[in-house]
């Protein structure tokens, strides 16, 4: 971090020399940093959406709520356990939750119409929110301060938390690992096969249920990591805290071309940065609306997203 700190003033000074709008860039720097950070968090969540959609063709509406539950679990665990141990447990419990949700709510509907599974996902989301409400009595809870990553740091003209810098770095490392997993391991190959053709891969002896479970485990793992980073930034958790980040992460996944992991990541960063720049411009009311406007524009112009593949329906 010191390294970046040492160099940034020079870089910025350099930009100031070359561009007349340099002052504006410096003004917007905090927003850009926040955007990159929140973009990384969205990216981690959106991978869960995009992988599940790729395999099950299901918009997992409950994913945002799993992310929210991870936040609450951290709060309750950290009350009794040391932070680093609770962080590990948060990740494990969230993965377990994702696994259980899939087994209980989606697996029985494997052969049902797609709409039924989607509605089941909405039902799970409703259930998780209500459970969270029950346990917290609807009160916002304070997220524990995780040492080191919540410390402040000054970059150029902007002061921010270390987590802001850590998020994109961690995101890229995790995504790289995931892409490696999908490209070069046996289970990754199985995942790609299942997402190409569900029925045929079943006939080829791939254990569909195992593949789907692993997909949910990975998605939940990333959501748990994202929750650690996100709530460190936003400090309070409410039962509906997962809804908006969830939706935005989903929009990011669609934006990048649903089913494509790099697409989801790129989409998430674009949305995170744009959203914060709009806040910076003083249009806070529209920062959410903007995300959806972007979604609609991309859907109308290129329904398959930035990196999606086109498919022709056979008649």
């Amino acid at each position: 971090m010191d390294f970046i700190n040492a160099f940034l003033p020079y870089i910025l000074a350099d930009i100031e020399k070359t561009t007349p709008d340099a002052i504006r860039i410096a003004d917007y720097l905090p927003y850009i940093l926040a955007g990159i950070s929140v973009g990384g968090q969205y990216a981690l969540i959106s991978i869960g959406y995009t992988m599940v959609y790729g395999i099950l063709r299901l918009i997992n509406f409950a994913h945002g709520d799993i992310f929210m539950v991870a936040g609450f679990v951290m709060i309750y665990l950290s009350a009794t356990l040391p932070l680093h141990i609770s962080a590990v447990f948060v990740i494990l419990i969230t993965m377990l939750l994702g696994f259980v949700v899939e087994r209980v709510a989606y697996k029985p509907l494997r052969n049902a119409p797609r709409m039924s599974i989607m509605i089941s996902a909405i039902g799970v989301s409703y259930l998780l929110q209500n459970c969270a409400w029950y346990f917290t009595s609807g009160l916002a809870k304070q997220y524990p301060e995780i040492p080191w990553i919540s410390e402040s740091i000054t970059i150029g003209s902007a002061t921010t938390k270390i987590v802001t810098i850590l998020t994109p770095v961690l995101t890229i490392i995790l995504v790289a690992a995931l892409v490696f997993l999908i490209k070069y391991t046996k289970i990754g190959m199985a995942m790609r096969a299942v997402s190409k053709d569900f029925e045929t891969s079943r006939l080829m002896g791939i254990k569909i249920n195992t593949v789907i479970s692993i997909t949910f485990l990975i998605g939940s793992f990333l959501a748990a990591v994202a929750s650690l980073l996100y709530f460190t930034n936003y400090t309070t958790v409410t039962p509906v805290a997962g809804a908006m980040p969830g939706l935005k992460a989903f929009v990011a996944a669609v934006f990048g071309g649903i089913g494509s992991i790099p697409g989801a990541v790129v989409g998430a960063f674009i949305i995170g940065i744009c959203e914060n720049l709009i806040k910076g411009a003083g249009w806070t009311t529209f920062s959410d609306a903007f995300t959806f406007a972007l979604l609609i524009i991309i859907l109308v112009a290129k329904p398959t997203g930035l990196f999606g593949e086109k498919s022709t329906d056979k008649v």
């Binding site: 039902g123 209500n130 529209f286 959806f292």
Partner: protein, 358 residues
Amino acid sequence: MKIKENSSLKYISILALIGAMFLIIFILEQLLPPTSMLFMVLKKGAIYSLVAVSLNLLCGFTGLFSLGHAGFMLIGAYTYAIFTIPLEARNAVYQYFDGGIINFTLPVPVALLAAGACAAVFAFLIGLPVLRLKSDYLAIATLGFAEIIRAIFQWDKLGPITNGSNVLRKFPSFSSTIFPFAVAGLCIAIIVLLINSSYGRAFKAIRDDEIAAEAMGINLAKHKQLSFTISSFFAGIGGALLAMFQTTVQAAAFKSSMTYEILLIVVIGGMGSVTGSCISSFLFIAASEWWLRFLDDETYIGSFKVPLLRSGFRKVVFSVVIMIIVLFYQRGIMGTKELSMDAIGRFFRKFKKEEDVA
């Protein structure tokens, strides 16, 4: 000839039933105190029936999966409220915007129609780009539009019209349960007529198989647009009724969770069943607002405290029940069937037969 007699008999019996229903409500209103939970459930149930049936027209009958219903209800609610707040109350309501810029009011029936029309116009415009999208994409695009509508109505630049993010209030509402029943009933009747018309058949054909429907000469774009616009028209009226019921309107309340709730009602009632949607609306509202209330209260039996019961438990139980229905009764209460005199007759005959056997 025989068929004709049968159908006129059917119409008479349906009319008689509706008459009896209104009579019962009227008598109940005389007997029970107006604050009774029953009336609250009946009013809200009637409004939700209308909204659920209008969503069912779209999801269940045309096969278009839209998640933007709350947005159209919001438009309806706001249109109604904006045009009916009495002039003398405007300064108090629009306190931050110098009384607003609209300086006329519409009579309630006209305002209700305007609410529907406004929602329909928005739906038409939104439908132009969005209805070309396939199932899931359509769902999220409409969800997105609902969120955008919500943001626009909260925008303080539009404050002189929408009162920004502040509450709209003091507009005329209703006290009698008959009013929402009459309005919602009339609207649902129109939807039923539509569904049973040639257009209704075309909608169902699109739901069953888009490509075959096109091959039968049904213009997909036109009919989808039609279904979307009509559905939104009635959602708008439903939104206006909801505003009257709540006596206040605030854009922040029309979140996507409201759409989800209505969607769950439709699913529980059965996709493609109007009577199913109505029944499940009343059950849903009654269960969530009334019957399960006791779960929220800490209860003691003697000195023993019943475990788990405390604020919020009702919603947990409720959502578990919903999950059970979604997982194990996928077709909902009615499936695609309708509750009709014939069906009731058949049921009782079957019942009687079983009794005879026993």
